[in-house]
């Protein structure tokens, strides 16, 4: 008897979907024959909005490109603006930026622990990691005044210096988290269930990864070493000792191993930053924001987010507002073309599982 094909709409409101987007699935039994992505549920026209704001005002909308990871857009924009304007960043400002970016990676990894395990039906680690993530958010609150949206990295440096006693709080929190991720690992990587679910699922071939511009953990999970922090060091990364996590296989397991390795690298980097934090200014102050103009020109500023390379192409026509700001994030490549392709042949129950391993952030697709 011929199997009947079923059409299923996953999302846009679905706990297994990262953010709000929809995947239209054609199934034969439990096997996916065709996957079509539909976005447009989160469109807020960030790029257009920025064109109507002056340079200073623009800095506060950037964090909304990706809720789980609001800092890399701020840093990429700052790098691009600094490049056009030729604005130097004081050494302390660079270190503080790297500190924020690494703390952002850590909290984002912890959110990933929740998503990756949750979509496999393993809820315990998710409960723990989201709870522990709050301790990192507390640090952000101490440093920037906001838990999620920090609006902290500005062209020229950072917005505020660290508060008194902050270093100790960071180190204390890092010690705690380092201990806790061992617990996670025992529950996750050592678990036969997770191994069974992750290995050989959602495979990206090396060639495809290169061809489609896959970045970040999915790329390093294919055995290709590429990390903006290593290839084009920005901020304080050229002075920090760290390694890329490179694993072979291209499946969900390999991507998980990359992240397992890199959260420890991030913790180590945070400690290095705290130990070597230089003294001096934290911000090379810009002129009055109402009259701040950037010389005509364009630049591409890119940083490594947890999901991969994130960049802004910023164009200035010499006025007080950006002429054009274009975001290049990993979510478009990972969440549309790649996802549609690698879902074919997979099991329905693995859709969310695969999606969580790719780092898809719909607001960034629909900027």
């Amino acid at each position: 008897m011929r199997e009947k094909s079923t059409t299923l709409y996953l999302g846009p409101q679905h706990p297994g979907i990262t953010g709000n987007m929809m995947v239209k699935l054609q199934l034969e039994g439990d096997t996916i024959v065709k996957a079509t992505t539909h976005v447009g549920y989160l469109h807020r026209a960030f790029e257009k909005l920025i064109e109507r704001r002056n340079w200073m005002q623009s800095t506060t909308i950037l964090c909304r490109f990706c809720v789980p990871e609001p800092d890399p857009p701020e840093a990429a924009f700052a790098l691009a603006v600094e490049q056009i304007e030729g604005r130097e960043v004081p050494e302390r400002g660079k270190y503080l930026r790297s500190l924020v970016l690494e703390l952002a990676r850590i909290q984002s990894f912890m959110l990933w622990y929740a998503g990756q395990n949750g979509s496999a039906g393993l809820y315990t680690v998710g409960q723990w990691s989201v709870g522990d993530r709050n301790y990192v958010l507390d640090l952000f609150e101490e440093l920037t005044g906001g838990r999620i949206y920090h609006m902290y990295i500005w062209p020229g440096g950072v917005r505020r210096d660290i508060p008194e006693g902050f270093e100790d709080k960071v180190l204390h929190t890092m010690d705690y988290i380092e201990k806790r991720i061992d617990d996670y690992d025992r529950m996750m990587f050592d678990s036969a269930i997770f191994q069974k679910r992750a290995q050989g699922v959602g495979i990206i071939s090396k060639e495809k990864a290169m061809e489609w511009g896959v970045v970040g953990a999915p790329l390093r999970g294919c055995g290709i070493g590429h990390d903006v922090r290593k290839d084009n060091p920005y901020d304080a990364y050229d002075k920090l000792d760290f390694q890329m996590g490179i694993f072979d296989g291209g499946d969900v397991w390999a991507r998980a191993k990359v992240r397992q390795f890199e959260i420890r690298q991030s913790i180590s980097m945070v400690r290095q930053i705290i130990q070597n934090l230089p003294k001096g200014d934290y911000l090379n102050k810009m002129p009055n924001p109402m009259k701040w103009t950037i010389p005509a020109g364009s630049a591409y500023g890119k940083v490594e987010s947890v999901r991969g390379e994130f960049g802004f192409h910023v164009v200035s026509d010499g006025s007080d507002k950006p002429r054009r700001v274009h975001a290049r994030g990993p979510a478009y490549a990972h969440g549309i073309s790649l996802l549609e392709d690698i879902l074919v042949g997979e099991n329905l129950a693995d859709v969310s599982f695969i999606m969580n391993s790719l780092g898809v952030c719909p607001p960034e697709i629909e900027r």
């Binding site: 709870g131 508060p163 929190t173 050592d190 269930i193 009055n288 109402m290 009259k291």
Partner: protein, 601 residues
């Protein structure tokens, strides 16, 4: 791995180690249980420190902040430099980015630790910080200091001649901004317009500063000439009340509005160039004739704008040059001759006729002017100095400052000798002192109150001190002592005073008995004020013009009690500065236009 990987199956049981432990609902011990010291919660605005500049509203890209009128309701002072408006925040729009805090020039707007508010009423999310949450004062968290503020509180320093170099000549002391400095200084302005309110002439200050910041110097000049025909003079010597109320000045140094105007006007180096850049539209002749008495700031202003509006304007000036007090009362190191020449030359090119060396009352009668013209504007200024009222004042070598300055500016000779005492504390006194210092005299200023009470511009006082002028505050002249011949000044006796606080008024100097001192001097320069001289107007008209304590009374369009006569400048207003005179002239144009053109129709 086989399916029967026992270790892998049992590993998840390690999670039981957390069994019975509390969930993460509390902050880590090292962080404390309260919100962070920098937490970005609801706003709090110190209503009395706020000046209502609206910078918070301008920077807010969510348009969450609008400015509401609160002055009447909450007894907020609406002094000069305070708009009486206060920010109101719509928490349906606010994103707590706190840019409003970082751009607040006064530091009055801050965020608090409070973040919790629930209400079913959508309108109740409109808060006026400080009014709706007075308790916020004790919960401040995200604040901005001078260091963290985005405002630039430091002024670009003005380059000047060295004090020792200055006294050698009458070369201009202030060197002016170059292009780079002007752009940087102009970019400090936040365009709040508090300055426009306080400027007697309501010049378009934010607009021309904005043009300079953007590099459009020609635009800046056109904007400036919109309501000020002597801007270079103002750019050099204006009393600049605008800078007193500058929002940046609350926590830093005011934007150098005067120097920026000076920069924009000095870019046009000849009167032809001014005409080419400003290129004003001159209306067709309307057949009305206006006579203007006095080519001072008020008269020239009225003349220029009347000429642009098609009136036939003739100015009558008693002296050789135009400019009035700005020509004869201000020393050349502050306002060089060629600068005034250039500005007045431009007015003449536009069609203003000026008859120099024509004293009304002597060379031409007031009657004649009155009868030949459709309207008359009197801008005669204060020329007659007040008497010191002490014995020996009429001796030779005792000279009023205005007279002394007039002689020097007119290239006449007056030898002040080696030792000079100047009496007074206003700009005229300082001018007299600094001019005398340029003639190698040792100068002392005697002033009855404290230095901080001096009405003179602080930059002028500093300039005088740099040039070696000694200021003796709290000293009241008693008498001037003549030499053996009984004709010349030999010494001056003064008495020291102490300041006695007085309710509802500034402290009053009271002489300390027995503290009399005598110092030997060659010249005494008195500068305690001037008044107007109306003797040129025949009795028939003087009686028609209402006077009040020596000043002409006018309505808000500068019209006197004789409908055909308008008046402005020092003879009318109490402030006695050039920019008020210009404002008077500008208002008179509207009055004359209204009177003549309305009757025509």
């Amino acid at each position: 791995m086989s399916f029967f990987d026992l270790k892998g199956l049992l590993r998840p049981l390690t999670g039981l180690s957390q069994f019975g432990k509390n969930p993460h609902t509390k902050r880590m011990d090292v962080l404390g249980q309260d919100t962070a010291d920098r937490y970005r919660g609801f706003h709090y605005n110190d209503l009395n420190a706020c000046i209502g500049c609206g910078n918070c509203s301008t920077i807010c890209m969510n348009e969450a902040i609008d400015m509401v009128e609160l002055a009447a309701e909450f007894n907020i002072s609406q002094d000069k430099g305070n708009s009486g408006l206060r920010p109101r925040v719509d928490y349906g729009r606010c994103c707590w980015c706190a840019l409003c805090v970082d751009v607040c020039p006064t530091g009055s707007l801050n965020l608090t630790k409070e973040y919790d508010y629930v209400s079913p009423d959508a309108n109740s999310f409109l808060w006026t910080p400080g009014v709706d949450n007075p308790y916020g004062k004790d919960q401040l968290s995200f604040t901005s200091s001078v260091e963290t503020s985005l405002m630039n509180f430091e002024r670009i320093p003005m380059r000047e001649l060295e004090g020792t170099e200055r006294v050698k000549s009458f070369a201009e002391v202030v060197l002016g901004y170059n292009e780079e400095e002007a752009r940087a200084e102009a970019s400090r302005c936040i365009s709040c317009s508090l300055c426009t309110e306080v400027c007697p002439d309501h010049m378009h200050i934010p607009e021309y500063i904005n043009a300079i910041a953007k590099g459009n110097d020609d635009d800046a000049l056109r904007i400036i000439y919109d309501n000020n025909p002597l801007p270079e003079m103002c750019g050099k010597v204006c009393t600049r009340r605008c800078e007193d109320v500058c929002a940046i000045a609350v926590r830093g140094e005011a934007v150098a509005i005067r120097w920026l105007k000076r920069y924009a006007t000095e870019r046009a180096q000849t009167s032809d160039l001014i005409k080419e850049i400003v290129n004003p539209e001159i209306q067709e002749a309307n057949g009305y004739k206006v006579g203007i008495i006095g080519a001072g700031p008020s008269g020239l202003t009225a003349a220029y704008y009347l000429a642009l509006r098609g009136f036939d304007v003739t100015v009558f000036e008693a002296k050789r040059f135009g400019g009035g007090m700005t020509m004869y009362g201000i020393p050349k190191y502050r306002l060089p001759m060629d600068s005034l020449d250039k500005q007045i030359g431009y007015l003449q090119k536009i069609g203003v006729k000026i008859n120099f060396n024509t004293r009304v009352g002597t060379d031409i009668t007031f009657d004649e002017i009155y009868k030949k013209h459709d309207a008359v504007f009197i801008g005669i200024g204060f020329e007659k100095p007040w008497k010191l009222g002490v014995e020996g004042e009429d001796l030779e070598n005792s000279i009023p400052a205005v007279e002394y300055l007039r002689m020097i500016n007119n290239e006449e000779i007056f030898d002040v000798g080696k030792k000079v005492v100047v009496i007074g504390g206003g700009n005229v006194a300082i001018d007299g002192a600094r001019v005398a210092a340029r003639h190698n005299a040792e100068v002392t200023i005697l002033y009855r109150r404290r230095v901080e009470d001096m009405p003179a511009d602080w930059e002028e006082i500093e300039g005088a001190e740099d040039e070696g002028v000694h200021i003796h505050p709290q000293a009241i002249p008693v008498r001037i002592i003549a030499d053996e011949s009984g004709k010349k000044v030999k010494a001056i006796e003064y008495i020291e005073a102490e300041m006695v606080a007085e309710e509802g008024a500034r402290p009053r100097p009271v002489p300390i008995e027995g503290s009399n001192k005598i110092i030997e001097v060659d010249t005494i320069i008195g500068a305690i004020g001037q008044e107007a001289d109306y003797s040129f107007i025949s009795e028939e008209y003087v009686n028609k013009i209402e006077l009040n304590r020596g000043r002409i009374v006018t309505n808000d369009q500068q019209q006197t009690s004789d409908a055909k006569i308008f008046a402005g400048g020092d003879a009318v207003n109490r402030t006695a500065d050039a920019i008020s005179a210009i404002a008077d002239g500008f208002r008179a144009v509207k009055g004359i236009e209204a009177m003549l053109l309305k009757t025509k129709k």
